[in-house]
């Protein structure tokens, strides 16, 4: 039995709570993702995908429901505890890479470890160099982030997301700003990382062909989870069950 990395029970999200213009954008989402799954989250614009991703990523709080990440129930945690859990358990890849341009690729990948502290310089450098090699940028590790191409920058962002060996990587339109070739390469890289390290991925995308290449595809429409099906990607033990 593969243990779940992410469990959502009745997640609701409202804006302007308590006012006359209160709007509920998520209407009780239930889903569970097991360790090592490679999932896509699809849906039309404004359906609540990004809001759901922000809640799962502990960047935003749900108005109601339960959220458990890596076995840790989050509803009772304060801001500092949520921050710590986010730093250790979740990696982020955004549509725009959001690298720190003044720093090198290596330094950008080291950043989460610097934030977490407790790592020696050598350990941080070794891990960052290994991750850059994994994403095919060993040659570019000392290049400033601003000197890299869009595809390379997104690869660095993926390496950065993996720096703390997170249980879950959340990717919000990671290929949205890339040309087809680069988008494909970045997507395959994420699949490779999933395959090699068993890292769980949840990818928000509008690109249906990429979504179909995932193990599971969740579909959100108007704040409701309307679909949970299997894609074409080879199934893991968890999905096979």
């Amino acid at each position: 039995m593969v243990k779940p990395v992410l469990q959502l029970g009745g997640i609701r999200k409202s804006y302007n709570v308590g006012s006359a213009v209160e709007v509920e954008v998520l209407h009780g989402i239930d889903l569970s993702i097991a360790e090592g799954e490679f999932c896509a989250l699809i849906g039309p614009s404004g359906s609540g995908k990004s809001t759901l991703l922000n809640i799962i990523g502990l960047l935003d709080r749900a108005t109601g429901g339960r959220l458990s990440i890596a076995g840790c129930e989050t509803s009772g945690l304060d801001d500092a505890e949520l921050t710590q859990l986010r730093g250790r358990s979740i990696g982020f890849v955004f549509q725009y890479h959001h690298l720190l341009n003044a720093f090198t690729a290596l330094e950008n990948v080291m950043m989460p470890m610097l934030v977490e502290r407790g790592f020696s310089n050598d350990a941080m450098e070794d891990r960052a160099a290994m991750l850059l090699e994994k994403v095919g940028l060993a040659r570019w590790k000392n290049s400033k982030a601003s000197n890299l191409s869009g595809g390379q920058q997104q690869r660095v962002a993926i390496a950065r997301a993996l720096a703390m060996s997170p249980s879950l990587v959340l990717a919000d339109e990671p290929t949205g700003n890339l040309d087809t070739g680069s988008a494909n390469a970045v997507f395959e890289l994420m699949q490779e990382v999933n395959s090699d390290y068993g890292t769980t991925f949840l990818i928000v995308t509008h690109n249906m062909s990429l979504a179909e290449r995932c193990q599971r595809v969740f579909e959100v429409v108007d704040g409701n989870l309307v679909g949970d099906r299997y894609g074409k990607y080879p199934q893991t033990a968890a999905t096979a069950e």
Binding site: N54, G57, L59, D60, D79, A80, T83, Q84, R86, G87, R88, F92, F94, H98, L100, M111, P112, V115, E116, R160, M164
Partner: protein, 388 residues
């Protein structure tokens, strides 16, 4: 670029503060050294004599006119005790007794009115640097040796080793040997002041074992008035500080200090606002990066520290560069601001303690300036920050 601009702004502010402080300190030191070239910081004298009306029987009314008596040359009562007491006060460097009176310096047919000053050289030279002001001869005095000023030497046509007769109102007529000729930087002083040993002067002015004044000097010249008032209260002698006798000058010095402080304060405030405004813009511009750092697990405290550190670094680096600018500006000033004879108008130097203090204040100001932007950054919600 923004950081470079604000560091430059801090540097300019700090350089103005350090340069102006050095200049004003040099100017004040120059003024004070001129004032104290021939004068103590506090002078103790016997209290003025006053006429006391006779007392009459109760109920009797007399109309009296009190006339202030002319002040005789008198000794300070128990001057050794007063001198010892003053010398023991905290912050006092030296108390030097002096017996001085009017006299005539006679050379052939020429006589000049002078002030005959009997001193204890060991103590007096710690108040007035006569050895350093000698243009010829030595400052060592024997019983019948005298030191005179350049103007008197010129008026009487005398030089080192020449004899000079001094006649006092008390009837003394003593021939001295001129041992040294000094220049205290003031024509009147160089013309009037003559120095002999205390024990030589005392009988000549009719005050055997008495002294007419005690000169006092202390570490903090600006405490002179407080010290003078304290001594007057405790001992009953008349005590006058340089602050009172040079009230106009002191007022000028004080005004300079106040205006300098005001300028430094306003420059400091400008620097603080400059840093704060740049950091506020920086928080807005870097909100995405802040959001990413928060997403990576950076706590609010870490973000707060990051901006406070940036403010501190801007303040510290700016102060170091500014101090460097100040040294360069002072070198230029010393090179170009000179008297017609090529000597500097006055000496000014940058005190290392001032640089250290300015750096610390600039660093603290940087942190203070960064406080609001840092709080704003720390309060940013990650999801809002990433959206920008």
């Amino acid at each position: 670029m923004q950081t470079l601009l604000i560091v430059t702004g801090v540097s300019v502010g700090v350089s103005v503060i350090v340069f102006m402080s050095a200049l004003l300190t040099g100017l004040q030191a120059s003024f004070l050294s001129r004032i104290f070239a021939a004068q103590a910081q506090v002078v103790l004298e016997p209290p003025d004599e006053v006429a006391r009306p006779l007392r009459h029987a109760p109920g009797t009314v007399f109309l009296t006119i009190s006339v202030k008596p002319s002040q005789r040359l008198r000794s300070i009562d128990q001057w050794q005790k007063v001198s010892a007491l003053v010398q023991r006060l905290p912050g006092i460097l030296v108390a030097s007794p002096m017996a001085s009176g009017a006299a005539f310096a006679v050379r052939g047919e020429v006589s000049k009115s002078v002030s005959l000053m009997g001193i204890e050289p060991d103590r007096f030279y710690r108040i007035v640097d006569l050895p350093g002001k000698l243009v010829r001869g030595t400052s060592t005095l024997e019983v019948q040796d005298i030191l005179i000023g350049t103007q008197l030497a010129s008026d009487l046509g005398v030089d080192i080793g020449d004899k000079l007769r001094v006649v006092t109102g008390a009837g003394a007529n003593v021939e001295f040997t001129i041992r040294g000729i000094f220049d205290l930087g003031n024509k009147g002083v160089n013309e009037r002041n003559t120095y002999v040993l205390l024990h030589t002067a005392q009988p000549m002015i009719g005050l055997t074992n008495g002294v007419t004044s005690i000169d006092v000097t202390m570490r903090d010249v600006y405490r002179a008035e407080d010290v003078a008032q304290y001594i007057a209260t405790v001992t009953g002698v008349k005590a006058e500080s340089w602050i009172k006798t040079n009230a106009d000058f002191f007022s000028v010095v004080n005004s300079q200090k106040i205006s300098n402080t005001a300028i430094r304060l306003f420059v400091g405030i400008s620097v603080v606002f400059g840093i704060a405004s740049v950091l506020v813009v920086s928080v807005v511009q870097k909100s995405r990066e802040i959001g990413i750092l928060r997403a990576m697990g950076a706590s609010r405290a870490q973000i707060l520290r990051l901006f406070l550190l940036q403010g501190a670094i801007v303040g510290f680096v700016g102060s170091l560069i500014g101090s460097g600018f100040a040294y360069i500006m002072l070198d230029f000033w010393l090179a170009y601001a000179r008297r017609p004879d090529g000597t500097p108008l006055f000496l000014a130097e940058i005190d290392t303690r001032l640089v250290v203090a300015t750096s610390m204040i600039a660093t603290a100001s940087g942190i203070l300036a960064a406080l609001l932007p840092a709080l704003r950054a720390a309060r940013l919600e990650p999801v809002v920050a990433i959206r920008g």
